[in-house]
Symmetry: C3
Subunit: 470 residues, 3 copies
């Protein structure tokens, strides 16, 4: 048996000057409550508050970080019984899937998934052995038993995991019933929505017309033209805001921003309604919608987030059978300096506006994003995202952006996860990486310990609340 341990100095440089400083800084924030201003946890779990079914359904089936790695090594999604597009499951025994996972657990060495899972196993479930083929079923039982206990019901976990606030991500046509029910239930966990209208702003979305129809229904508008469409969006933003939202989110392949004339907008919208929109039209429309969303943010004060550069559903075979979010979204080169120019010129100097920009293309950190955030008052830099939400990724982020943007044009950490139990693991990593980065600056006498202590607290808590207006 190999012991599973979480070293108290994990992720800190072994050099003693750095490690000592990092320890002291981490100590100052390690018990700080978690603000999760952007993520994908399903809010219904806090309404129903039912036990998670079993370890496989908690750790494997919903987590594309985990099953993409298994898939890359030749294990089919069928063997793992990943839910298909139409909801179909093959009904493979969860213990069999867990066994495959356990036998291949060595694949996660050195990856963020490995780091998070180890934390969850030890800190949340009290496991003391490294998972492998031999102890797979024993560990399955250990976790499963806990999941069935009261302590591990979603609402109790929310407290146990030290979460102060959790933001979900919701489509423009979501009626926010779960958020309302949570509020109405009297439970004091704070779970708020975020307005993400991609399905209605991306004209290439295959279900666009249905979504527009739904948007009309929800706003009691017949959306026959662009102007009414804009009114509908404004009404939805108002509705989200009334239900606690403080932010919007926009997933785009390119961050091109460009205001179309009223005539152009109406023409493209009309083409879309009649099903004749071209790719070029759709790109311009998305660029235009980013401008509209920024304008609305100036008016209603919702913080705007732009997540750009993911080439979604790269593997058609998987997409056809399994649908979205199955580990086949691949980053591509992204350009911000020219693409964001129109938006930043129009709204980037507006004191009522905050736009947080994310990238999957790390070359932008020092070349484009830090210089932009280091100048425009409205623009802030989102934390290292997705593939870069990792020890190395966050470290590269701080090394690349700090000198030009400083610490105060960044906005703290996003866990951005669907995997609820991984939230404290991810914040633990983020806080440790920041402590270690600051520890490095202290060890090199670039800043002193007093400065480091102020900064780590701001990064962990204050900057998040400020940027997301919480």
């Amino acid at each position: 048996m190999s012991t599973l341990k979480l070293h108290e100095d994990r992720f800190f440089d072994s050099d003693s000057a750095i490690r000592n400083a990092a320890r002291e800084l981490f100590e100052a924030v390690k018990n700080c409550p978690i603000i999760s201003p952007h993520g994908h946890v399903d809010p219904s779990i806090f309404v129903e508050n039912k036990p998670f079914p079993n370890p496989t359904e908690l750790f494997i089936s919903p987590d594309h970080y985990v099953f993409r790695m298994l898939y890359s090594q030749g294990i089919s999604l069928e063997e793992l019984d990943i839910p298909q597009r139409n909801g179909k499951r093959l009904g493979i025994d969860s213990r069999k899937v867990w066994q495959i996972f356990a036998e291949n657990y060595f694949l996660f060495a050195g990856t963020p998934s490995g780091v998070w899972l180890n934390y969850e196993f030890i800190k949340v479930f009290g496991i003391e052995e490294k998972l492998n083929g031999n102890n797979a079923q024993k560990i399955y039982d250990l976790i499963n038993d806990k999941l069935q206990s009261e302590e591990y019901l979603p609402r109790n976990l929310f407290k146990k995991l030290n979460i102060e606030l959790l933001t979900t991500t919701d489509s423009a046509t979501d009626n926010l019933e779960f958020h309302k029910k949570i509020k109405d239930s009297g439970w004091d966990g704070r779970v708020i929505p975020c307005f993400r209208p991609d399905a209605v702003t991306n004209l290439l979305n295959p279900t666009w017309k249905d979504d527009i129809y739904e948007l009309g229904k929800l706003t009691s508008l017949e959306i026959t033209n662009y102007k009414i469409f804009i009114t509908a969006l404004e009404k939805r933003r108002e509705y989200f805001k009334a239900n606690g939202a403080t932010s919007t989110d926009h997933g785009v392949i390119s961050p091109l921003t460009h205001k179309l004339s009223e005539r152009e907008s109406e023409e493209i919208f009309s083409k879309a309604l009649s099903g004749k929109v071209s790719v070029k039209d759709a790109e311009l429309f998305t660029a235009n919608m980013l401008m509209e969303m920024a304008r609305m943010s100036c008016e209603d004060g919702l913080t705007m987030q732009i997540h750009a550069g993911s080439n979604r559903n790269h593997n058609n075979i998987i997409f056809e059978k399994y649908g979205l979010d199955k580990g086949c979204d691949i980053p591509q080169q992204t350009e911000y300096t020219n693409n964001l120019k129109e938006l930043l010129n129009a709204y980037g100097n507006n004191p009522n506006f905050t736009v947080i920009v994310f990238t999957l293309d790390e070359t932008n950190y020092s070349r484009e994003l830090a210089p932009l955030a280091g100048h425009y008052p409205a623009m802030k830099l989102g934390p290292a995202w997705w593939f870069h939400d990792s020890i190395e990724g966050m470290t590269r982020y701080r090394h690349s952006v700090t000198e030009t943007a400083g610490f105060y044009n960044t906005v703290g950490f996003n866990d951005d996860t669907r995997a609820f139990v991984s939230i404290p693991a991810r914040h633990d990593v983020a806080r440790r990486v920041d402590a270690n980065f600051l520890g490095g600056l202290i060890a090199k006498h670039i800043i002193d310990l007093e400065e480091g202590k102020k900064i780590i607290k701001d990064l962990t808590y204050n900057l998040v609340k400020k940027a997301y207006k919480l």
Copy 2:
């Protein structure tokens, strides 16, 4: 009160093997006189030799590195009384501006501006406290008193700061009167010009026709066609060389190089004279002018510098009111392998030619620039530039280029600054970063101490003099 200190081991890794080697290497060059082969100090200050007006006018108003950071955090340029395009000032009390700066000094933690300012405060002005809102006025007084003393007059500072040679950057239509006056004055400080003809080679420059007129006047030529234009430039280069210049400089958004035929050049030039030039024409013309400048360098021996990739004046609101160089120049993706091909094929094998290439796009270091500099005898790699003239930036530079280009295809350090008093601070950082990088190679037994000592001296002094023919 928090003490302001410069640790003697600052910027060195805390690991003792690296630090000990770095110390020994730094010791070998720390008192080496400063060669500043590229920068933007105003030469008139050495003619007039008047005291700098006050701390605000020395550290804030002219330094876009400083006020862009304040602006990014919502402090307006009006509040800081930055000089406007038309020279207008709002006349805000310098002490008020200094107070804002002091209250926000924490924003510079971990940035090069913070590092340089700390050095200047301590080493040049003897300040012993960290600047903050409470001690702002006291420190203002301390600095202000020194500025009024004889010791702090520009010529005396030149000596105090250990400067051996200072190169300015001057337009093609500069008559170099200040350089002449400095020489004629008998003062022994060496201040030389550098020929930067962007205003006449960039056809999109709004004042291009005025500048061409000026160029004609200075060369006693009526510039009615391209051929005469070229003759005028050759005459200006000759004039600059006669007045001490050893280099030229070219700021371009793209480093495209392409020789136009005589007919094409004449046609575009003629269109420009009649105010009908297109963006495409202007791009080709700039590409052609880089070829012409390289050809002239082969003939007159002036070292050519190419600074590419800055998207200037990205923020129109600021540009309209405040003009150039106000912290809104943003880097963009840049390509060198194909763009420099024509120039390097024509002149890159010429032993009389030296072209130093700079980038704001760090992806080019290992991918394009180090391989090019590691092959073409004429091409050398300029040091980490602008946003990358920093501890991390210079460290990334050495890590990225050394294995392919070696040390001897680089050219030492450029401070590239308008902020005269920051010159020794910047060279201090550069020398320390190089010492630390070499210390790392020694600690890893890649080179030995004897090799390191030769290299640090070459990087600090010998390679600069060679590349810039000083």
Copy 3:
């Protein structure tokens, strides 16, 4: 005299926690036999088994890594007597060339060539002094004497260097006579070919028609159309496989993949036969051939390698006189996410297919290649290539790809060299860099020593054999 030493901890971080772990991991693989699955050693040397002529012909004349650095510092290829395109040599005394090399040996400080040469001098030839102008001739003699001895004949060196398997790279029209002779000779060194058909798949190859003629001759086919061309290639693959090949290799400037229709393929092929092919045609044809090669690999099981992004023969003057591979190939920006999409959609989920992708554009590591390899079961990530086959380059590679691709979607090390004697030096560096990287993970408590030991063995030996089906 300065002593030349190889420190036993070379290339390890000096921090003791990292160094101690790295030492222990390196110890586990340092004597592991060398698998060289991709390289450019001339197989004829093992047939003839004649002594290498002299130190200059061994270390300088054939090694473009070495002479490009000398060239970049103004030493002409004439002075170095590099073989010209037509085979012509100037006949300069080898000792004179060696003297120049020795006098400029300091240029290689901090470069991979320097690191490899030091290893070869000490470990293979027992030299104990740093090479310089003074001892140049003495060291020439020392090496030369050894080269004439039986111990240093190629076949004996193969054993002395601890090589288990060596793969060469061979054109589609190579008859593999040397590989056959090696086998027939009864010598037990394993030297196998790799099928690289670039000369016949790249329609812009100046000798394309001759190569097609040769291909027809070897396959007893008259290649008058595309279909027959494909048959010929299939026959050649079969022949290579029968002679030991387990892999193919494809050098392309862009990794664009796209299947042409039969009609399109025939049309372009027919244009090429009549000498009228356009650059655009040739690009599409190359894209199509990558699809064909992937299809064939699915059928015959040969592992496919794609080496993309080298802008070959950038310096025309050198190319005209000296031909290919003279140090003037320069990397350029490369895109994989969109370019490989068609190939990966068609074959990336196929369990019989392995495609190993290499890049010279390091920005692709974390952005495109690790995400692709971390999803598609057929795709693996080739090791750091060419300019990045270096201490820093391999370190950046592991730091950039591991978190997303893990260790098990990489394939171990390629020495990729023409310089036979440098093989053990290069593997020594690779093993040390991997040991140090893993040591860093251990020191940061991301993995433990037990995990590290399994991984270093897999990286050094098991993953190579698996990926290349050896």
